[in-house]
């Protein structure tokens, strides 16, 4: 039995449909991340779970009880806002205990709860300060404290890290993950940052255009994206999506990809989903190559993968220290390969590339749907 159940939920403002038939189910203790580009409807969905926005159709239920029409404060939900939304006129302690005060919790209990939360988040020395006297990271922490103190059934996070600088963001990310593991809380988290989504989530819903494109565990979504949008959105650097022809060479299925040299296209054997790909024989498809599946021959994973090598000309090299991103051109598009930093690739010269064809994905050239 799922804990948070979103069933056929719609949302429209007048004639504009912003969310279409959303179906998501998560269990108690799950960390659900709603991820997508801005304007995809993820924040609207979060506000609907919170009860701050009304739903136009469908049902949201928590622990088997329908939440439709239930006031936000009666849903036993706490929310951390993007701007933190701390009350500027109240001290940190007051900010944290305001929700308890509104629920008529006696004063001693409130103080005890505030102390407990302050200790958990290591901010006992900040309790008397006003929000304006806090740094961004401290404000973030107070906002989390305000949610934690209520001990709700579901936590909602609305892009909580987007106002922090890069380093602090990584630190807080780890802190949120630890908090989730320690408390076993059920969390719904909205972000546009796919790395945040991958690192934090136990379940991810990738959204675009008001539709859940794919719902699953981070690994499922990374390894088996259902369409080119999910494939391109998740992962960094993003998946190479190039045009290819399906053909048969020596009775074996191959993807034929144009290279810089028009006379010699690259032929990559089809390594998976052969039955489905065969139906596209002679047609155009979109071929998806994760950068880490295109390597130099020495670092290719020969024990698990099925390696196919080819010489291609290098356009640009981008050393990152640990790795080197080597860019070549395939099917008229730039393709990023992830090689060792000392692989010897030089811009303007040919280099040997190793493709793990067992991890290549094929998508319908028109609809962008995965062929599998």
């Amino acid at each position: 039995m799922s804990f948070l159940n979103i069933e056929n939920v719609n949302k429209h403002y007048f004639d504009v449909e912003v969310l279409k038939r959303i179906n998501i189910e998560i269990n108690k203790g799950d960390f659900l991340v709603l991820v997508g580009p801005s304007g995809c409807g993820k924040s609207t969905l979060l506000n609907m779970i919170a009860g701050l926005d009304e739903i136009s159709g469908g049902e949201i239920s928590i622990d088997g009880k329908s939440m439709n029409g239930v006031h936000p404060s009666k849903r036993d939900i706490a929310m951390v806002f993007q701007s933190y939304a701390l009350y500027p006129n109240m001290s940190v302690a007051k900010n944290i205990s305001f929700g308890l005060e509104m629920r008529k919790v006696p004063k001693e209990e409130r103080e005890e709860a505030v102390q407990k939360v302050a200790k958990m988040l290591q901010m006992e020395q900040l309790l008397d300060r006003k929000p304006s006297q806090l740094s961004g990271g401290q404000r973030q922490r107070v906002a989390m404290g305000r949610a934690l103190v209520r001990d709700p059934r579901v936590f909602l996070f609305d892009e909580p890290l987007s106002n922090l600088d890069a380093k602090l963001r990584v630190d807080m990310r780890t802190e949120i993950k630890q908090l989730h593991q320690r408390l076993g809380a059920t969390i719904v988290y909205v972000t546009h940052d796919q790395i945040e989504a991958m690192t934090l989530a136990t379940k991810i819903a990738v959204m675009n255009g008001g539709i859940v494109q794919q719902f699953g565990t981070p690994q499922e979504i990374y390894d088996n994206p259902v369409n080119t949008f999910v494939a391109g959105f998740m992962g960094s650097p993003s998946m190479n999506l190039i045009e290819a022809n399906v053909c048969k060479v020596e009775d074996k299925l191959h993807f034929e990809v144009a290279t810089v040299d028009a006379q010699r296209p690259l032929l990559l054997p089809v390594g998976r989903d052969k039955g489905a790909v065969e139906k596209y024989l002679g047609r155009k498809v979109t071929l998806g190559l994760r950068p880490e599946t295109v390597t130099d021959p020495n670092s290719a994973n020969r024990s698990e993968g099925e390696i196919h090598e080819a010489d291609l000309s290098v356009e640009v090299t981008e050393p990152t220290g640990a790795d080197m991103f080597v860019v070549t051109k395939l099917g008229g598009r730039e393709v990023v390969a992830r090689m060792r930093s000392r692989c010897g690739a030089v811009a303007g010269q040919a280099s040997r590339f190793a493709f793990d064809v067992s991890r290549n994905l094929a998508f319908d050239g028109e609809t962008g749907k995965r062929i599998q």
């Binding site: 701050l52 404060s73 939900i77 701007s83 009350y87 929700g99 509104m102």
Partner: protein, 293 residues
């Protein structure tokens, strides 16, 4: 070459500076001259005034005119000074400012944070109310006050000023709350705060600048009002502006300029005081309310 041009720049800068300061000082003198004459005249004896030099400093300072203006000057047949009318003005202004500001804040809160269908229309109508000239409301208002049994009372004037000021106070607060983050309201809704709790605990405590602006604006307008005061009050219930007029007009025989000046300054003091105490918030608050973000 560059040094000579810098030299020139400096010199022309100085010239400008002198010119600007001269203009400023002259303007200030012209502006302050009437106040100076009032102050000086109010502490002169009548004999000294008859010497005819308005700008001259007093030969002998006397506070007799001030005491007379406050306690024993005659307005018509009644010789108790303007003190009673001063209190009338306070009795009208303080509640009217308080109620008007509070209602304006409340309207602003509803018009920005609890929007309903047609909220723009309602706000538009209230804005329109700001532009209705005083004269137009005089007759209907006196009719309404009559029906309510509030004619010729200070409570009646409080009502008039609250109603007339509502458009302005609502405008101030609406613009201020427009820039007030919605997420704070959402956070307090999640925290379980109700409609009035959010207003009292979240909105109002964070409205300092705009409250100051509204209070100054309302206080000066209501305190200085003459037309409503003259129209809707009589005798004992008149505000100080009306009393001042009566004082100046009703002196038979000798015109006691020193008493008149003292009374006029007394009548202006509270607004001056409000400006001095809260004036710097006024400019700041006007900015805060008008510029978003």
């Amino acid at each position: 070459m560059s040094s000579s041009s810098q030299d020139n720049a400096l010199r022309s800068g100085l010239l400008w500076r002198v010119l600007i300061y001269t203009i400023l000082i002259v303007t200030a003198v012209i502006y302050l001259a009437p106040l100076f004459v009032m102050l000086v005249t109010s502490v002169k004896s009548l004999e000294e005034i008859r010497l005819g030099n308005m700008m001259a400093l007093p030969l002998q300072i006397t506070f007799e005119p001030w005491l007379k203006a406050w306690g024993s000057a005659c307005l018509g047949l009644d010789c108790n000074g303007i003190s009673g009318y001063f209190w009338n003005s306070l009795k009208i202004t303080v509640p009217a400012v308080f109620i008007g500001t509070l209602l304006g804040a409340f309207n602003g809160y509803v018009l920005t944070k609890w929007r309903f269908k047609g909220h723009k229309w309602v706000f538009g109508m209230m804005l329109f109310a700001c532009f209705i000239p005083f004269q137009i409301v005089l007759l209907p208002m006196s009719q309404v006050l009559g029906w309510m049994g509030l004619a010729n009372t200070t409570s009646g004037l409080v009502l008039v000023h609250v109603v007339y000021g509502l458009g302005f106070t609502t405008l101030f607060f609406r613009n201020f709350y427009e820039a007030f983050p919605d997420e704070l309201i959402r956070a307090s809704v999640m925290d379980g705060a109700g409609f009035f709790t959010i207003f009292g605990r979240i909105l109002l405590p964070n409205s300092g600048p705009i409250i100051v602006v509204t209070v100054i604006w309302q206080f000066t307008n209501i305190w200085n009002d003459f037309l409503f005061g003259a129209s809707f009050s009589s005798g004992d219930t008149a505000p100080i502006t009306v009393a001042l007029n009566n004082l100046v007009n009703s002196s038979t025989g000798v015109k006691e300029y020193n008493v008149h000046m003292a009374a006029a300054i007394t009548a202006a003091l509270p607004t001056l005081l409000v400006y001095v105490v809260a004036g710097r918030y006024f400019v700041r608050g006007l900015m805060a309310g008008s510029v978003k973000g």
